[in-house]
């Protein structure tokens, strides 16, 4: 035990990035801080990513708990659940929660995550719609599947498709409405998007692309959605999955500099020297984040800074995605296609096994990879992209993956 009185560290947001930062701090210097965690959700920290798996019935809720109550107790961490921080007084260094509690801090970590984007549709006020972000949403969907048959998922990105898959597994008739021509267009090119659509349809998920939702219909609760072309689709449940927006209300109110997200420097420090921010709520060099890999990196950097290390700096790792739908393997990283004449594409299509791979080459370096059906070399491609290595000498084998490219 240290002789000094320990500094007080308050974490706002009991989610994945924030708690990973606490893990990193404890690993570095367990006795440095007296830690208080305040979370709006009424549970200890769980693995949000795996909500999809829980929805699909592949995992139970207790499987996805990352930090059970004992964890906080064991590490002398004060935990407040089900109460959000309402304001931060950076001058007096106190936070106040919605329920009126006040807590002093020496250092503060903002990790408020993000909020689902919900479009301003007529009928939104009708019960029967939700997003897919937390355990409350999960519960809504599970309940709906018990009472209704038709589910509409608006948004054919990663999250929407995982929701659709889960709902389908729960026995609902699911239709995905997607505004663009092909699914997951931010991660996949058209070819892969088509393959994905075909494979989902083959599994019984209806997909309508270029579908613009105009209104939610219903009397007491939602019963259908109408598309701009006039089509009406029955809906007992409507799930929005058209994107997330960093949750920055608190930061803005507290006078921190925000843009799309809470602005941080390379050490995850906000514009206030005692306030740090990690996770989906931050904006680093103009970039915001929606996947966990960069957050783990941020957690490390933030913990290092809070433990007095001076040389750590955040550089976002190459962004890559994979889809968690059992039996459909999709991987995407970097550029989705040739940007101009200088860019080159290498493709492989295997109709028989529904495999598709595409690499984008720029200046003799790997700039992007889309893998569909067989994704085992995804991480290696990411490694190559990050290293910026010249791949010309293995170009003719590159797409076939590490084992073959490096074979004698």
């Amino acid at each position: 035990m240290s002789m000094h009185k320990k500094e007080r560290l308050v974490l706002v947001g009991n989610g994945m990035a924030g708690m990973r930062t606490i893990d990193e701090i404890l690993a570095r210097d367990p006795d440095r801080y007296e830690i208080e965690v305040i979370g709006a959700e009424p549970h200890p920290n769980y693995n949000r990513i795996m909500l999809s798996s829980v929805l699909a019935g592949e995992k139970a809720l207790e499987d996805i708990v990352l930090h059970p109550h004992e964890f906080y107790a064991r590490n002398n961490i004060g935990l407040t659940t089900g109460d959000a921080v309402a304001s931060i007084d950076s001058a007096s260094r106190t936070v106040t929660t919605v329920s009126g509690r006040s807590l002093a801090f020496d250092k503060l970590i903002l990790a408020t995550g993000s909020r689902p984007v919900v479009p301003p549709l007529p009928g939104l006020e009708l019960p029967g719609n939700c997003a897919f972000r937390d355990r409350a949403d999960l519960r809504r969907m599970q309940d709906a599947s018990c009472n209704g048959t038709h589910a509409i998922v608006i948004g054919g990105g990663l999250l929407g498709l995982e929701a659709a898959f889960g709902l389908m597994r729960l026995g609902m008739k699911v239709t995905v409405l997607h505004l663009m021509q092909t699914l997951m267009e931010r991660q996949l090119d058209e070819a892969a998007g088509y393959l994905l659509q075909r494979d989902l349809m083959a599994r019984g998920i209806n997909v309508i692309t270029r579908a613009e939702t105009e209104a939610i219909l219903g009397d007491k609760c939602a019963t259908a959605v109408r598309l701009s072309d006039g089509r009406e689709l029955p809906a007992d449940l409507i799930v929005f999955a058209i994107g997330v927006r960093p949750n920055i209300d608190l930061a803005r109110k507290s006078g921190l500099e925000v843009n799309r997200g809470v602005k941080v420097d390379d050490t995850m420090q906000s514009t206030h020297p005692d306030i740090y921010a990690v996770g989906e709520c931050v904006e680093h060099r103009g970039m915001t984040f929606g996947l966990v890999a960069p957050l783990w990196q941020q957690a490390k950097i933030c913990a290092a800074a809070l433990c007095g290390e001076t040389n750590a700096a955040f550089t976002p790792p190459a962004n890559y995605t994979s889809l968690k739908i059992t039996g459909i393997d999709v991987f995407s990283a970097g550029a989705l296609g040739a940007r101009d004449d200088g860019d080159e594409e290498i493709t492989l299509r295997d109709a028989g096994t529904h495999q598709y791979k595409k690499l984008v080459i720029r200046d003799g370096k790997l700039a992007g990879a889309i893998l569909y059906g067989e994704i085992s070399d995804g991480p290696w491609f990411v490694e190559l992209m990050e290293s910026g290595r010249d791949i010309s000498y293995i170009r003719d084998r590159l797409l076939f993956g590490r084992a073959l490219a490096q074979a004698a």
């Binding site: 795996m50 890999a293 393997d329 493709t347 028989g352 096994t353 994704i375 076939f400």
Partner: protein
């Protein structure tokens, strides 16, 4: 009608004879495909060369003709034979007997030959029957007859073992008569036998040679004339032998002396020192054998070359004695047997001659033939000229592929195309069968019975040991059927080969009285059982007197006066001399592991590996001058045709001379046969064509793309500037190259072209790899999950996988996880499969995790994360990882979980 041979069980070993080269090795084979050398056969004493030992692999029925066909439609034997009989009869009726012809083969058994010869010369009244032996042995036959009075090979194989010096003249025995060469090597080891190779090229036979004389093509007469002069000048003549047993020595020497020994270097292009070394070794070594083959025979001066060699042996009396003599190595398994029956157009039968009316009358009497041919018929090249001129109205081609193997093959194709009626009896569909109006399925080796005679006059049995495919029949039966249908029932009443053999043997001794050395009268009385079990035997085999062994040792020759003849031979250059426009001489030859036009050996993977493509071999200096690169392409042009070939640099080539192997044809390579490029000049006496000296020009041929097609099927034509077919395990590889671009940079080749190359239907199950900017495209075609074909094309030849790497892709079924990987063009041996994905974030498979757990003895998910990163990102897979950890047998755990 036809007495089918009774076949042994598939496991029963049967003694038979190798069907390839003239060494004539004994083989023990059985229907299950096992093959080994016959220890008891004197030719090989149990050894077999690469071709012989792969015989078991040639027993597949790929590409076989199975049924008679008339105009491409299946017919019965009766229909086909009646049709042929009608056509032949009509031709003879309307155009005379000279309007029909048979072109047969050294692949024939003696019995086949005998019946064909008898039919033509005795009953159809024409000697228009020639064989591919014309391309092979005719000059030796003519040279023998000129010198000895009869077509006799005086020595036997032991002579090679008993010689102190063996001259290999125009013979790459190491590849073309491999077992004989083994015997020579053994002699070298055992008793220090030296050997000298006379060949424009450095060949495999030069290994271990005392001296290699890379003489200029066609200059052999000058070299051996010089030797004769040298022997005369240095007192090495055996005066007594020459005076007592020879005639014509003076004029031969006088003619030889027209060039002094110092003059020999210029035409032969040899080093004077080497020439003298050869001469003095020959002069000082009594036991010397000069073994010669196609380099001597296939020449416009072939007969003179043979006699120039024989002259030197006569001059020294080195003939017919142990370890001495001129020795013609026949190229084909039964060239000798064909000569025995008289299967060449200028022979009559059984070593009797058209030049003797007595002989004609005697044979007629023996055959009870009323329509004997009275004069020699057309020799191969003339014969096909007559076909081209429309003079031959009905032509039967059997067991040979003249559309490939005759010189000016393009003209031969024209001739075949224009001929009124062509019958082709063959085992395989090939270039020639495409021109036939009637195709007849012939039995091949392992399916038919009869005899063959090897280079040392040894008669061996070929025996049937497995059933023939479809309705295939032996050639003798077909000819006998034609004879019967044309009205000579009794003369062609044969039901089995032994009847033919007995008649053949009887004819050889018929009114012979020692006149003809070819006398096998002792065999005329063999009963069926004795024929069945006949052991290899060497002729002569008269009813009484000496059997087998060397001939002429006693100095008595087969001429009317018993004296051997020296022949005055004058050196003249090859017909096509190099000139400014066509500065190089093209030589053609065999390669080690292929036989003839590859109809049999071409489908055997391990025989294809040795020389897979039809290369043009060229000396690096010539290549540099012409701007050619190794493995690049060249357009070769002769006065007769042009071909695009792949270049192979070889310092074994004589500068100024290029070489192409003779085996390829239009049905297995875009180059077509090398003999297309070859001129039709023939030896004036033997009619044997000059296949080894054609003037050509070469120029670089650039290719816009390169490729490799792997296909399970035996494709006969491919839409590509350059292609050839190479057997691989379970299929074929086709190297490709195209002169015209397949696609502009950034674009992809047209679907039609791709589907056409693969032989795929539009909705086919395809895997496609495309790198359009680099111009690399790869395709794999599947049917019902099975790999059918793979196509690799690329602007840059470096992006095309090499054939060796891909050679095994049809050998075993392709696991589904390798469907796409096959297009990497790399060997997939030892490339691990990671198993079903467990960690999606880092794409770590179950196999990888399980193996790591086992190998490194990992206990916790954290350890696995540290080792593989698995589970360290989103963590969704941690439960699966835990499960793998818990399981004693990780794989089983996953199966349970699934």
């Amino acid at each position: 009608m036809f007495h089918s041979p009774s076949l042994p069980s598939p496991q029963t070993p049967v003694k038979t004879t190798c069907p390839y080269c003239g060494v004539g090795c004994g083989v023990i084979a059985s229907g299950d495909g096992s093959v080994r050398g016959d220890e008891s056969h004197p030719a090989n004493e149990g050894r077999l060369c690469s071709k012989g030992s792969a015989l078991g692999e040639t027993l597949g029925f790929r590409g076989r003709i199975l049924y008679p066909e008339i105009e491409g439609k299946r017919a019965t034997w009766d229909q086909a034979l009646d049709h042929i009989a009608a056509k032949f009869s009509a031709a003879i009726r309307d155009h005379g007997p000279e309007s029909v012809a048979i072109y047969a083969s050294g692949q024939f058994l003696t019995e086949d030959y005998y019946v064909a010869n008898k039919l033509m010369k005795g009953f159809l009244g024409t000697a228009n029957i020639d064989t591919n032996s014309r391309l092979c042995m005719a000059s030796s036959v003519a040279g023998h007859i000129r010198a000895f009075g009869e077509d006799i090979v005086p020595g036997c194989y032991e002579d090679i073992e008993q010689a102190d010096l063996v001259i290999l003249a125009g013979s790459n025995a190491a590849w073309c008569h491999p077992i004989l060469f083994r015997r020579l090597e053994a002699a070298q080891k055992a008793r220090g036998t030296k050997f000298i190779v006379i060949d424009p090229r450095v060949t495999a036979s030069c290994d271990g040679a005392e001296l290699h004389l890379p003489l200029r093509a066609g200059s052999d007469v000058a070299l051996f004339n010089g030797l004769l002069t040298y022997l005369a000048d240095t007192g090495n003549f055996d005066k007594e032998f020459v005076e007592k047993h020879c005639a014509g020595a003076e004029s031969a020497i006088a003619t030889a002396r027209e060039m002094t020994i110092n003059d020999i270097a210029a035409p032969t292009g040899l080093d004077q020192h080497d020439i003298l070394k050869f001469y003095s070794l020959f002069a000082s070594t009594p036991r010397v054998v000069t073994a010669y083959s196609q380099g001597i025979n296939q020449s416009s001066a072939g007969t003179d070359k043979v006699n120039a060699i024989i002259n030197c042996h006569l001059a020294t009396g080195r003939i017919g004695k142990p370890g001495m003599g001129p020795f013609s190595l026949t190229g084909q398994p039964n060239a000798m047997g064909g000569r025995e029956v008289g299967g060449l157009a200028n022979q009559l039968a059984a070593h009797m001659s058209f030049s003797s009316p007595q002989h004609i009358e005697r044979v007629a009497r023996f055959w009870k033939a009323d329509n004997m041919a009275q004069r020699p018929g057309l020799k191969a090249v003339e014969l096909f000229e007559a076909v081209h001129a429309g003079k031959i109205k009905a032509l039967w081609i059997a067991g040979t592929n003249p559309a490939v193997s005759l010189p000016r093959a393009d003209r031969i194709r024209e001739a075949l195309h224009s001929c009124d009626f062509v019958v082709n009896a063959d085992c395989h569909h090939g270039d020639t069968s495409g021109f036939a109006h009637v195709r007849l399925p012939a039995r091949g080796w392992s399916e038919k019975d009869g005899t063959v005679t090897n280079s040392e006059r040894r008669i061996s049995r070929q025996r049937a040991f497995r059933p023939a495919p479809g309705e295939a029949m032996p050639d003798w039966w077909m000819f006998a059927q034609l004879g019967r249908r044309m009205g000579w029932k009794d003369a062609f009443a044969y039901e089995k080969p032994v009847q033919i053999f007995r008649e053949h043997a009887a004819l050889s001794s018929f009114e012979n009285e020692g006149e003809r050395l070819f006398d096998i009268g002792a065999l005329a009385t063999l009963d069926d059982g004795e024929y069945e079990s006949m052991a290899p035997c060497q002729w002569p085999a008269p009813k009484e007197g000496r059997q087998g062994g060397r001939l002429f040792g006693g100095g008595s020759f087969a001429t009317p006066d018993g004296r051997a003849r020296f022949i005055a031979t004058r050196f003249g250059s090859v017909t096509e001399t190099p000139n400014e426009e066509k500065p190089l001489i093209l030589n053609t030859a065999r390669i080690r592991d292929q036989w003839h036009t590859m109809t049999r050996t071409g489908d055997v993977a391990r025989l294809s590996a040795h020389t897979p493509e039809p290369y043009l071999d060229i000396h690096p200096e010539d290549a540099l001058r012409a701007g050619l690169q190794d493995r690049g392409f060249t357009r070769v042009e002769s006065a007769h045709a042009s071909a695009i070939m792949r270049v192979r640099l070889s310092s074994e080539q004589r500068p100024g001379e290029v070489h192409a192997a003779m085996h390829w044809s239009f049905t297995n390579a875009s180059t077509g046969p090398a003999d297309r490029l070859v001129g039709a000049s023939v030896d004036p006496i033997s009619g044997q064509p000059e296949l080894k000296a054609s003037a050509v020009s070469i120029s670089p041929q650039t290719m816009a793309w390169h490729g490799l097609l792997l296909h399970g099927e035996r494709l006969l034509k491919i839409d590509s500037t350059y292609w050839c077919r190479i057997a691989v395990e379970g299929g074929y590889a086709y190297p490709l190259a195209g002169a015209n671009p397949l696609a502009r940079p950034g674009e992809t080749p047209g679907d039609d072209w791709v589907l056409g190359m693969l032989g795929a239907e539009p909705a086919a199950d395809l895997t496609v790899y495309a790198d359009p900017m680099r111009g690399v495209f790869r395709y794999a075609l599947f049917r019902e999950g099975r790999l059918i074909a793979c196509l690799f094309v690329a602007r840059d030849s470096a992006a095309v996988p090499d054939r060796e790497t891909m050679a095994k892709i049809f050998a075993a079924p392709l696991p589904v996880e390798n469907r796409a990987r096959i297009l990497a063009g790399l060997s997939l041996d030892g490339v691990a499969n990671t198993g079903p994905t467990i960690c999606a974030c880092f794409a770590i498979g179950q196999t990888t995790i399980s193996e790591t757990i086992e190998r490194s003895g990992l206990k916790t998910a954290a350890e696995i994360g540290a080792a593989l990163k698995a589970g360290t990102n989103c963590g969704s897979c941690l439960p699966e990882i835990e499960k793998l950890l818990r399981a004693g047998n990780p794989a089983a755990a996953l199966i349970q979980a699934a």
